[in-house]
């Protein structure tokens, strides 16, 4: 076969397939981890440019990644990936950046790069107990940051405890994201309103809710979508904007349900 002969004669075991696979793998991890589109395309393009004298093209959309390498005198090589379940993971963005830098500087072979990309995909940095602390801290400190007093901070912290419990348990049960967010927001709403109604009437329930839902609301996603649009990546920009609106919808559904429940209970 022409292809296999050609692949075997490449220096140090780099063949086109390995190269394109490595590039796609790196791009997929970055997209799943919430990196900006131009950064993904830049990284994938850098890895692809290691194939000298060939034309390559890569398109990253919010929900898919297409990479193709034209090979003169041979069929072109194309790999496409569908991207599901995106969530921000800065550690992975960092690690993939490091791998691609070392790969391009020649400090790493493609085999090694593929191995470390596989490890990056598996690695988890913080355990669920640490993440729980994260949820509680974000809720409490955002309530303070937005101008709340110690009462709102305390209320939001307590709501954060429930939020952490719901989010971590439902994530273990592999529920979909919309339901996780809605249930989490519902837990926040019920806790905040219960504290306001029965325990501490001087606390501002709305301020507590606004602080405590901060781990859920898609502020960064929305801002990234505007940045993508400013960069000319219109398709992925609108994509991300829709994603942000759906996440906001799930949170609003949760809070709205809790509120109407309480207005019925207290005879509002």
């Amino acid at each position: 076969m022409n292809t296999s002969l050609r692949e075997k004669t490449e220096p140090d075991g780099v063949n086109d397939k390995l190269l394109v696979e490595t590039a796609v793998e790196a791009g997929e991890i970055m997209l799943v981890s919430g990196a900006e589109i131009y950064r993904v395309e830049d990284t994938v393009g850098r890895i692809l440019s290691l194939a000298p004298g060939r034309k390559s093209e890569n398109v990253a959309l919010g929900t898919s990644l297409i990479v193709t390498l034209d090979r003169p005198g041979d069929e072109s090589l194309t790999i496409m990936r569908r991207i599901r379940n995106r969530s921000t993971n800065l550690n992975r963005v960092c690690q993939v950046n490091e791998v691609s830098r070392r790969l391009c500087a020649g400090e790493m072979s493609f085999k090694e790069a593929q191995k470390s990309l596989r490890e990056i995909k598996q690695g988890i940095q913080y355990h669920s107990r640490t993440r729980a602390v994260g949820y509680i801290g974000v809720s409490a400190f955002f309530a303070l940051l937005l101008g709340g007093t110690w009462r709102e901070g305390l209320g939001a912290g307590l709501s954060g405890v429930l939020l952490a419990a719901v989010c971590l348990l439902t994530a273990k049960a592999r529920l979909n994201d919309f339901c996780i967010n809605a249930l989490g927001a519902f837990a926040v709403g019920v806790t905040a309103l219960a504290i306001e109604t029965w325990v501490m009437p001087s606390m501002n329930g709305n301020a507590v809710i606004t602080g405590a839902i901060m781990p859920l609301v898609p502020g960064v996603t929305f801002t990234t979508s505007i940045r993508d649009i400013l960069n000319g990546d219109y398709a992925s920009g609108t994509n991300r904007m829709m994603e942000a609106l759906v996440v906001a919808l799930s949170v609003a559904v949760g809070i709205g349900t809790a509120m109407s429940m309480f207005s019925n209970l207290t005879g509002g």
């Binding site: 550690n91 963005v93 960092c94 974000v138 940051l145 901060m214 502020g219 505007i226 940045r227 809070i255």
Partner: protein, 160 residues
């Protein structure tokens, strides 16, 4: 007022560190990111007090955040995104998007429109501030390269 600004700035530092746990921020950058977040909120509060506009405040604070992020990224050899995302966290319009959708559900259409416009304005201000800083740093980087190229031996070039 001074005490309140201090409390809020420290809260911003802690909030960003905690958010870092949820965003899988690399451990070695957690505190640095917290510093960026604290600085961001300090600038935000001061600008908001001075101009009375939260869009202006988001813009100014993101300019500072983007500048620090680029410097940190060079110092620590990490992608800019790590510090940038952390820094914009306090100013980002998460609550506005939520309120917008909330009032859509509750059929309060004028409030929904108000919050949607506010979301677009704040997110736009942040995005443009990042864009400006990115362009400035790219200019500096390009000129640095050109400057180095024009004087390979380190002596010639720049007369006098």
């Amino acid at each position: 007022m001074g005490i309140q600004i201090m409390v809020q700035t420290i809260s911003a530092f802690l909030a960003v560190v905690c958010f870092g746990l949820l965003l899988e921020m690399p451990k070695r950058y957690l505190l640095d990111a917290g510093v960026v977040g604290g600085a961001a909120w300090l600038v935000y509060l001061l600008t908001a007090q001075w101009t009375g506009s939260n869009i202006m405040a988001a813009f100014a604070s993101t300019l500072v955040v983007a500048c620090i992020s680029h410097v940190f990224a060079r110092l620590f050899k990490a992608p800019v995104t790590v510090f940038l995302v952390a820094g914009i966290l306090p100013a980002v319009p998460g609550a506005s998007i939520y309120r917008c959708v909330f009032y859509v559900i509750r059929s309060g259409s004028s409030l929904a429109t108000f919050y949607f416009v506010e979301t677009l304005q704040i997110a736009g201000a942040i995005a443009i501030a990042i864009f400006i800083m990115d362009s400035i740093f790219r200019l500096i980087q390009d000129n640095e390269k050109r400057w180095k190229k024009s004087r390979p031996d380190g002596n010639s070039g720049t007369p006098g």
